[in-house]
């Protein structure tokens, strides 16, 4: 058991450092009830920052778009934003793992992200890949990284500007380059052996009910990603990720989220908890909800998820609907 990881680092003290153009707590009063409100920004807040010239340039906010569809950014994106592709930029091309410290530093520097930059991430599909990118940045300990509530869909639905202009960014180099910081997986990432050791503790399966019960081996309407067995990890609660989201893709209120995760499912913010899905993207969304909106102390995302567990030899599998 790792010593109580401080996943909430940016919420304590960082607001007083002063020189940043944005006060973390000032994003939107609607977020105030969340455990770490500085982790979310509204579309209006972002539009205001763009209007005020606060996006891009030295010391500016860096806005990144991370989508399931690799071409979506190229069809038009939020002015000043840059593409961060989960597959091309964050995954190692050979090993099933994330990029290493040097690759990550290069990806960040190329986008003008410094270690102290405020980064806002948004994307398609209810911010799944945006949440996933935020989680990967958290593995590297980037402190100030936030999600755009409602993601790309909300921005578009509000008729806000999208552009095909790709900003020219001077890559950071020398002293201002992103530092080579080793990934620290242990606090927020679970591997298969960690899950085996955790059996009996709280687990959240965020896949669809059919995947949970074992009737389906992949999410509805999605490609088959090859699992030999269907079902779920024994003892896992079934809380499909979408239950945390409103119709417009924004997150539900803290009160509504507590009703689901605490009262209904009996999870506790003080317990070490593991979330998983199929490949780790939907569970990044739930990881964000539990960690940053509800203030759970120690949530890990099991990114191997069902594509690993459902193929592993002799790991325990449970089938059937939630009890």
């Amino acid at each position: 058991m790792p010593e109580s990881p401080d996943l909430s680092a940016p919420s304590t003290g960082s607001a007083s450092t002063g020189s940043a153009p944005t006060e973390p707590a000032s994003t939107d009063s609607a977020f105030a009830a969340y455990a770490h409100p500085e982790r979310l920004v509204s579309t209006q807040w972002l539009a205001d920052q763009i209007e005020a010239g606060g996006v891009g340039g030295p010391d500016g906010i860096v806005v990144l778009e991370s989508d399931e569809d690799v071409l979506l950014y190229d069809t038009g994106h939020i002015p000043g934003s840059l593409k961060l592709d989960w597959h091309q930029d964050l995954n190692d091309p050979v090993l099933r793992d994330y990029v290493d410290a040097e690759q990550f530093a290069a990806v960040m520097s190329a986008r003008g992200v410094g270690r102290d930059s405020t980064v806002v991430i948004y994307g398609d599909k209810n911010n799944w890949w945006a949440a996933y990118a935020l989680w990967v940045m958290s593995l590297f300990g980037h402190e100030d990284v936030r999600l755009l509530d409602g993601g790309r869909a909300k921005w578009s639905a509000e008729g806000r500007e999208l552009t095909r202009d790709v900003p020219q960014v001077a890559p950071l180099a020398g002293d201002s380059a992103y530092p080579v910081v080793e990934r620290d997986d242990a606090p927020i990432r679970a591997f298969k052996d960690d899950v085996l050791a955790h059996l009996g503790g709280p687990l959240v399966d965020v896949r669809s009910p059919g995947e949970y019960s074992g009737e389906l081996l992949h999410m509805p309407d999605y490609p088959q990603e090859g699992a030999m067995r269907g079902g779920h990890i024994p003892g896992a609660k079934s809380v499909p990720w979408a239950r945390a989201a409103n119709e417009d893709g924004t997150f539900k209120s803290r009160e509504d989220l507590e009703a689901i995760y605490l009262q209904e499912q009996g999870l506790s913010p003080a317990d070490a908890t593991i979330a998983y899905c199929r490949i780790g993207e939907r569970s990044s969304h739930t990881w964000f909800v539990l960690t940053h909106l509800l203030g759970f102390d120690a949530v890990r995302n099991y990114d191997g998820s069902w594509t690993e567990w459902g193929n592993a030899v002799r790991v325990p599998v449970e089938q059937g609907a939630p009890k």
Binding site: D69, L71, L72, D74, T75, D221, E225
Partner: protein
């Protein structure tokens, strides 16, 4: 018989090979631009299919709601293999990669004969040099489209 003879890949139809060559000539970022052009060039769904997606087949291998339908000409009646094949796709604008795959298949296959479409190799989607730029995982969507196109053509001509 030698191993090299066995390993000869099945050739692509000429129009498809031309597209594959165009992609191969580009650097990875420009391949994405070309894919975007195919996405934007995907022909509109004809009015007779608009609003009736239930008459089309959903491609479940794709990560977005995409539907396709194949039409095979009636003539020549006595030579089913020589009848022309036409393809129609419905894919939303928020899924440009999937639309791009459909655009490649549309330009590469539309108007070919039944025999030519059925002879397209299953691995054709991997011959557009897109693995690096798009990722092999995402290419599975195009594999699903191609196999459904061939299956529909076979069903409509081989009964």
């Amino acid at each position: 018989m030698t191993d090299t003879a066995v390993a000869q890949p099945v050739p692509l139809p000429a129009a498809m090979q031309e597209i594959a060559d165009d992609f191969a000539d580009l650097a990875a970022p420009q391949r994405l631009e070309l894919l975007l052009e195919f996405s934007e060039g995907l022909p509109e769904l004809p009015a007779r299919y608009a609003g009736s997606l239930d008459t089309m087949e959903q491609v479940h291998e794709c990560q977005s709601p995409i539907f396709l339908v194949v039409e095979v000409a009636d003539e020549p009646a006595d030579q089913p293999d020589d009848r022309a094949v036409h393809l129609f796709f419905s894919a939303p604008p928020e899924a440009p990669t999937t639309r791009g795959f459909a655009g490649i298949l549309s330009e590469g296959l539309d108007g070919l004969t039944v025999a030519e479409v059925l002879a397209v190799p299953e691995d054709a989607p991997y011959r557009f040099s897109l693995g690096e730029a798009v990722s092999p995982l995402r290419l599975r969507g195009m594999v699903g489209m191609l196999s459904r196109i061939k299956r529909q053509v076979a069903l409509k001509t081989r009964s």
